[in-house]
Amino acid sequence: MGNTLSQIVAACQQGDREAQRQLYEQCCERVFRLVNRMVGFQEAPDLMQQVFLQTFRTIGQFSGHSRFETWLYRLAVNECLQFLRQAKRRPCEGLTEEPADHSPPHARRVQHRELLDRALQRLAPELRCIFLLREVEGLAYGEIAKALEIPDGTVGSRLNRARAELREHLVEFGWDF
């Protein structure tokens, strides 16, 4: 039977290389999903490396007061926001190179997914990440507050704003609500 995430994290805090690999394998998909939509497909691999290197450098600071995933999302979001701030650029490539959608063809739903991806790129990074943490990663408001280091009450208002702006962009792109 495999180790639990908390056992793996504890081993990583001791510098265990095998545990680091296990941690990466357990978490890479969700981190990449977030990073990819935050900075775009071209930049995501480099950012992923940064996130995990930073994770292993600072994992000793993880106190266990929150879920490890929340702590990891915080690192990932910080790396992405810092990258976008420094580079002064927004991803505009979307996910056009990513052929991972193998669901049965359903024109309207596929079109909606494309529109949503495009509209997400229009959102300010701070709004985009909060929407992704909620809608794609499924975090509760309390976890989002910890991940973004913002007050609980701010999560609701910011998410409300993200959804309102997203709706405007979707309508502009032709989403037929």
Binding site: R17, Q20, R21, Y24, E25, C28, E29, F32, R33, N36, R37, F41, A44, P45, M48, Q49, F52, L53, Q54, F56, R57, T58, Q61, L75, N78, E79, Q82, R85, Q86, L95, E98, A100, D101, S103, R109, H112, R113, L116, D117, F131, R134, E135, V136, A140, Y141, E149, G156, L159, N160, R163, L166, R167, L170, F177
Partner: protein
């Protein structure tokens, strides 16, 4: 509940994150308001679509690259140092900046091992501060405040407490404005810290302290250089620089400079007679 209130709560209602009484009130409003109910249905449609967004495939070469970087940790530190020297064209432009000594790492390690507890903790805490600074300056600040009884003060209060005029003018070159002044009770002395913010939101922090504090930079590769003619110790903090130099019998340490050129500019600027606060 009217439409305006309902719309304010609609997002949290949709997520089931409202207190039960408000959740019930919004629900009741939706039962009688087709327009708000339609807006809620839109949320549901977007949520469903978001849940169906394809999960991208993680490139297979990421982990091997991470593993390689982890395995060559020590050589990588040297690479950072070389990078620091080579990548900054400003080194050439600042011809006065003669690199004289490379890497006080070994000495610093010995120093750290022999250090008293107080200084050892400073090394750890300041190391955490530097680690955190580039990613999240506010979180980094909390490390210092919580460990050194940090206290927000006015400039005048700081001057009265340390009995000298801190070198923390309201404005620095490159559009940096002073946002806060703190006093930190560190083992060496009471340190004055000023936080500056540029128009782009980037932060730069200036510390002034009585004693030299090489321990602050821990075992990070350090170079000694002359910036605007002043001997400085510089270390790289991710993509930014930290530097320390002596001024008027005290030491100034900055964290968050973009490049050596900015360090040299700040050394020159802060060396002028200060009109201060």
């Amino acid at each position: 509940m009217d439409c305006s209130s309902a719309r304010q709560h609609l997002s949290a209602f949709h997520d089931g994150e409202l207190p039960p009484d408000i959740q019930a009130a919004v629900s009741k409003h939706l039962d009688g308001c087709p327009e708000c109910a339609r807006r809620r249905a839109e949320f549901q449609e977007v949520s469903q679509t978001a849940a169906e967004l394809p999960t991208p495939r993680v490139p297979a070469d990421i982990w091997p690259q991470i593993e390689t970087t982890l395995a060559i940790k020590v050589p990588r530190q040297r690479a950072v140092l070389v990078n620091l020297i080579l990548r900054r064209r400003a080194w050439i432009g600042l011809a006065t900046a003669a690199v004289v000594v490379v890497a006080a790492s070994t000495a610093a390690i010995v120093w750290l091992e022999q250090a008293e507890h107080g200084h050892g903790y400073v090394a750890v805490n300041f190391g955490r501060y530097l680690d955190e600074f580039e990613r999240n300056p506010d979180a980094a600040q909390q490390v210092l405040l919580s460990n050194y009884e940090g206290q927000a003060v006015s400039y005048d209060e700081a001057a009265a407490r340390v009995r000298y005029q801190p070198v923390t003018p309201e404005r620095l070159p490159n559009g940096l404005s002073r946002k806060a002044v703190y006093l930190l009770r560190m083992p060496c002395c009471t340190c004055v810290q000023a936080i500056y913010q540029g128009t782009d939101g980037e932060k730069l922090v200036v510390f002034e302290h009585v004693d030299d504090q090489p321990v602050w930079f821990g075992t990070r590769p350090t170079i000694q250089a002359r910036c605007n003619g002043m001997p400085c110790s510089l270390v790289q903090v991710d993509d930014r620089l930290a530097a320390t130099w002596k001024r008027n019998g005290r030491y100034v340490t900055i964290v968050g400079a973009d490049d050596v050129e900015q360090v040299a500019g700040l050394v020159a600027y802060l060396d002028r007679p200060q009109s201060n606060n």
